[in-house]
Subunit: 459 residues, 2 copies
């Protein structure tokens, strides 16, 4: 059967890629309101392709923010049901000047598709649409399928919780399947079993009530940029431990056995540094690079600005300085609690010479997939059959805030069957996705359906 | 005689203001190349007004950057000669949204002229043009006058040194008179006897060779913004002393007597803080607010940026972070040496995880006017006659880099007879200049001419 499916995939591969290109041409940037219409256009495009692929019904469901595309194909209520989650929105593409080709004009170079969203997540969720088509057209569909493709993942899925609450019946399923993560390499397939949570905040430091001449006032009036630098610098100690009181209280320490298992994932630090153009890496003392990204919470300034940032020199002592700061969380840290702890601490370290405003932006809870679940086993078998190797379970620094929500609201296990590579430069200029990964991913997804239904029927 | 001059000033006051408005309407921002033509237009405007005021000759002299306007009126070679320096270029006006009225559409509100450059320095140097006209038209001109009005003061007067070298003969004079500073208040006239030097640098911190996903790499790859914050924070210790090795070595400490004399200047800290909307001020331990701005060197971040600074949230670990940093210097610090010390120190504190680039932008030497000079005495007498009070000598945090150059290259003393107020918001939105200050300043300038020639003739 899988041969018929693979044959179909091979015959229609070029069309699959052409369709993906059409989707990648739509600049559906959810963070920036000037792309609002493009985001809607992308939603409509996804609905139309799902209908074309053969679902019973598909609709663009409005939310308080960007819409959710929902579709389903119910073969037979007694069959197991797979709920596919993905997102059609993308990160902002700037800085545009660093792209070798325009971010919304996809091109193939060296067997890679270059475009914003190629890997995150248009290229990855679209594999499910095409896998579904291939199974349906070849009579190889063995599970009911539901699609929930949202448009706010890159801005924290703020309206998805309400959507889940309001659509619990409709979203009933046996497993949630998501392709929005990476494998270690095409030689070493892997499945992400751990996802970090996120707490994202915006801070504003205000000094004088107007921009001042740095000569007339400098040295006597505290400079908001200098103050913000000092406050941010104090958020980590000399061992790169985060200094926010209570920050680590709920962090679940891994056993030596777990750390040893994770350490089995092949990793070449020299190659890693060379790829990034770095001469040294640094992070929390006492942990390896993979542990720093995978199992330890982190804090990064994602953006900072203040004063004169134009051409030439301006001797100004600015009234305000700003920063966007995010923390990646691990089980059992709670993003709301961390946001509260950060806010209280940040206010407490502000000197009397400034006023500080902290605005929680968005967050998400961390999640870990149970290794003994049928869902994980089916995914592992699918990879093994398609790639000829057992996938390595890994823990990823990335966050998919709503995975924890699925667990909490829908009570359904999630499997993160991603096919990207860390070198895909998601969220960066020149984002790419391998043509091989795209095609192989479609095949692997069809095999997940096969093994999942088989394991279910054994019960 | 001065009555005839004052009568003339009174009769032509409205025209003087109208002419100044025409000049203020020209957005001659020297820092931004897109205003290049406006800068040239301003130069031509100044030349034409000088010719109209009655100089023998006036020309716009090209330099490697923006041109210098030179003009002169030689009554008689045996008479003393006053060289007037000023600048027709202005600071960038952004942030535009904080202006109550457009920066290049001057308006009078509450007896103040609001516009970019109203006080710094168009309104102030133009007083000399009109004072000259008033003296010439009423037969009250007693000195030869030369005008050197440049267009690069706000970007460090980079080409003026060459200009001075090439025009030493032409610029011969007995004193250089500059109005580009402030008085304490209209009740308490003052003369700035000390000017700070400046050393302005741009720094760039580079981490990874591309923007990264802060989830995938955060915690394992050092973040250039966090690193830059830490480096900047370390530039001052807990007493707000600058930590750059050797920074204070050449600072001339004031005697207790000098500090006591400066402390005589009336200063209301509560009013100062209220004007700035501050609940506290802070600065170098062991010095008063006036000493921090007047006699102590300082360091300020004038601008900083990195990562995502647009709308919404982007979870990026940026490749680069940038800052513009300036230090205000006092006698006998040398701006080139300080730039070298800063650069060496900043490179030395950079961790191995980043590459740092430091680019010296521009600088200027500090200067102090000799109180026993005829020039200072004439200025003091002019203020006393016009304002009814002896002016207080003050030391100002501002920098006019080329004053030290005049001393060095032309060997001529400079008198800083400024008429602005600290509340004029120079370099900020809603810059203003009092109509009273403008008119009174013109009168004071004519009295300086009178007393300077009288004192010279006594010799």
């Amino acid at each position: 059967m899988s041969t018929a499916i693979n044959k179909y995939i091979g015959q229609h591969q070029q069309r699959f890629i052409d369709e993906l290109f059409d989707l990648l041409r739509i600049p559906s940037v959810s963070a920036d309101s000037k792309f609002r219409n493009d985001v809607l256009e992308a939603a409509n495009f996804v609905r139309d392709k799902l209908l074309a692929a053969g679902v019973d019904e598909a609709e663009v469901i409005t939310t308080a923010g960007h819409p959710v595309v929902y579709a389903e194909k119910i073969l037979d209520p007694v069959l197991p049901t797979i709920l596919v989650y993905g997102h059609y929105d993308v990160q902002p593409a700037d800085p545009y000047e660093l792209w070798d080709s325009p971010p919304f004009e996809p091109v193939i170079k060296d067997e890679n598709i270059y475009a914003r969203g190629a890997a995150d997540d248009k290229g990855q969720f679209y594999m499910h649409v095409k896998a579904f088509e291939a199974m349906l057209q070849t009579g190889g569909l063995t599970c009911n399928v539901k699609f929930m493709i949202e448009g706010e993942e890159e801005v924290g899925s703020e309206n998805l919780e309400d959507f889940l609450q309001e659509n619990q019946q409709r979203l009933k399923a046996d497993v949630i399947l998501i392709s929005d993560t990476s494998i270690i390499s095409t030689e070493t397939p892997s499945i992400t079993i751990g996802l970090k949570g996120l707490s994202y905040l915006a801070v504003e430091v205000t000094g004088p009530n107007r921009d001042l001449h740095s000569g007339v006032y400098g040295g006597a009036v505290d400079n908001p940029i200098n103050v913000l630098c000092k406050m941010i610098a104090s958020l980590k100690d000399e061992n790169n431990k985060i200094t926010i009181p209570g920050f680590y209280d709920k962090v679940v320490a891994l056993s030596e056995a777990e750390r040893t298992a994770l350490a089995k994932a092949p990793f070449d630090l020299a190659a890693y540094m060379q790829d990034l153009g770095l001469e040294a890496v640094d992070g929390e003392k006492g942990y390896s690079t993979l542990e720093r990204t995978g199992i330890r919470p982190t804090l990064d300034v994602n953006g900072m600005w203040g004063g004169y940032i134009g051409e030439g020199a301006k001797t100004v002592l600015p009234a305000k300085a700003f920063a966007k700061i995010s923390m990646r969380l691990v089980p059992d840290q709670d993003s709301d609690e961390i946001a509260r702890l950060f806010t209280a601490h940040f206010m407490s370290i502000a000197p009397a010479t400034v006023k500080v405003k902290v605005t929680p932006h968005h967050g998400g809870k961390p999640y870990v997939t149970p290794l003994d679940s049928i869902a994980f086993q089916a995914a592992s078998m699918a990879f093994e059959e398609a790639w000829g190797k057992k996938p390595v379970p890994t823990r990823d620094g990335g966050s998919i805030p709503i995975v924890a929500l699925f667990d909490e609201i829908l009570k359904i296990d999630t499997v993160l069957m991603g096919f990207g590579l860390d070198s895909d430069a998601i969220h960066s200029p020149n984002e790419k996705f391998g043509v091989f990964n795209f095609v192989k991913g479609i095949e692997t997804i069809t095999l997940f359906h096969k093994h999942f239904s088989a394991l279910k029927n054994k019960l």
